[in-house]
Amino acid sequence: MRIAVASGKGGTGKTLVSVNLSAAAGLDLADLDVEEPNAFLYFGDGSSTIVPVSRPVPSIDEGSCDLCGECARVCAFNALVRLPQRIRVHEELCHGCGACARLCPHQAIEEVDHEMGVLISTASGERRLVYGRLNIGEANAVPLIKAVKASLAPGRTVLMDCPPGTSCNMVEAVRGSDYAIMVAEPTPFGAHDLALALDVLERLEVPHGVAINKAGMGGVDIAAMCAARGTTVLGAIPFSRDIAQRHAQGRSLMDRPEDRRTFLGLWGAVMKEMRP
């Protein structure tokens, strides 16, 4: 079972919910925010394995290439440019669609691996964490997000800490989830971006509910907004300087019974929602 933790707006508390829900309910975690992975900060210094992740990019065999320019013509992303003496490849623009290699009339293009980031696995007791880290300068995180998802062990329930926004990365992360927990903060920005993110989930047909973080701050009634949309509210995490400070330090919130209860209650609400 895969449960996405997403938000729309950044900084609403996706990682806070992910790491503490994982600790409270004993769940595996996958950090799909590969541009800014942070869940590992809460998983201790256990040993980890690191595997490079690559994406395919074209490599031109200049011996076979007659500079016909067909590859540059078929590339929808302007990643190949025909120069008078050679074909230039802009690897950073390549989407890895394979059209150039497939359509080259002289079979002069081979696809080679371009390392885009790494896949890291670690554990804290019984709980596993897997996450991706995108190399700096890489524009497209989607293939790495796919690689992290593909590495998840089948048959285990896993929480997936998703990237912010409502665009490709967030779509790829939440797509195919059995459920999505949307973490919302009760501010005008939070409400605005939550509405956009809920539109995405509806478009993807992922069942979802909202966890209100920093409840009591910001002055916007997220519960009323959810009621108007017919969206379930799963629970609320109060705004408190104490929670903010412990989380900022990279500490788990599980050392306070009242906080543990909050996350167990949230998990109970998710389980209830997912029951057929």
């Binding site: 800014e36 669609c97 059209a99 990237p163 926004g165 665009s167 990365n169 995405v200 400070q245 330090q249």
Partner: protein
């Protein structure tokens, strides 16, 4: 004209709040909200929209099921798992518009159509002309939309002899962040005093270095964790990044946001005023 990109790596550190307050102080800057998949600047700064346009930057494959023989060539070739033979159908959100399926289809059952994935607008506000956009939920091409917004904003700034272009950037280090940084004269990084905030600042700093955009830093809500704020100060010293200011946690910021106002008073407003003063050196050079 100087171009300043406000970024943070981590989301929710206060980029938009600080950027809006700076635009009030700048008086007559050109503004670009480049967080196009979760744009918020228009919630603080509003005005009259002068122009609005659809945004079409790529194409999407569409399939004519009545022609399709279900040979499967397209589905086998598609690297994005966008084609389903039961149906058959093409998932618009998965399709990257590479055109390979349409080129391979032996019976011309697939056609490429222009894909409108969002809208962008130019809005006249009391704080300056604002360029902003919105991607349709789930659509891609955010980097291209950021590039388009910045180009229009730059053209407008040059035409009107504006001294400053302020860019409100997206979180992350991927395509929209790269597009937001590209060509900027400097980046103002809004850091949050937390382990996550620090890890993300380190990554966005590396991106600034790689793209040759000089970074500057300010710490927002520094007093929520003074110890982590000190670690950020140390990081800035080690990396030789100018530290321009510390903004305290201020409940008034939430009250301003709730009523759609720019922060221009109170402890946070005063600290942003000092930040603006610190930026004068950059603006003069």
């Amino acid at each position: 004209m100087k171009e300043l990109a406000v970024l943070s790596g981590k989301g929710g550190t206060g980029k938009t709040t600080v950027m809006a307050a700076l635009s009030r102080l700048a008086q007559g800057a050109v503004l670009a909200d480049c967080d196009v998949d979760a744009p918020n600047l228009h919630l603080l700064i509003s005005g009259d929209t002068v122009e609005e346009h659809g945004f079409t930057a790529s194409r999407v494959a569409t399939l004519d099921a009545s022609r399709c023989t279900r040979c499967g060539l397209c589905a086998e070739a598609c690297r994005f798992d966008a084609i389903r033979l039961d149906g058959p159908s093409i998932d618009r959100l998965s399709c990257e518009g590479c055109d390979l399926c349409a080129r391979l289809c032996p019976v011309e059952a697939i056609a490429m159509r222009d894909r409108t994935s969002g809208r962008w607008a130019m809005t006249r506000t009391a704080d300056g002309m604002m360029f902003h956009a919105r991607l349709e939920p789930g659509e891609g091409n955010s980097g291209k939309l950021v590039t388009l917004l910045k180009r229009r904003a730059r053209e407008h700034a040059l035409e009107t002899s504006a001294a400053l272009l302020l860019v409100d950037g997206p979180p992350g280090t991927g395509c929209p962040a790269i597009a937001a940084l590209s060509g900027a004269d400097a980046a103002l990084l809004i850091a949050e005093p937390s382990q996550s905030g620090k890890a993300d600042i380190e990554r966005i700093l590396a991106l600034c270095r790689r793209m040759n955009v000089p970074p500057m830093m300010a710490i927002n809500r520094w007093d929520l964790h003074p110890g982590m704020a000190e670690e950020l100060e140390e990081l800035a010293r080690e990396e030789k990044v100018p530290m321009l200011g510390r903004i305290p946690f201020d409940e008034g910021v939430h009250r301003c946001a709730a009523s759609g106002r720019v922060v221009d008073a109170g402890p946070a407003g005063r600290a942003i005023g000092e930040l603006w003063t610190s930026l004068q050196g950059f603006l003069r050079d």
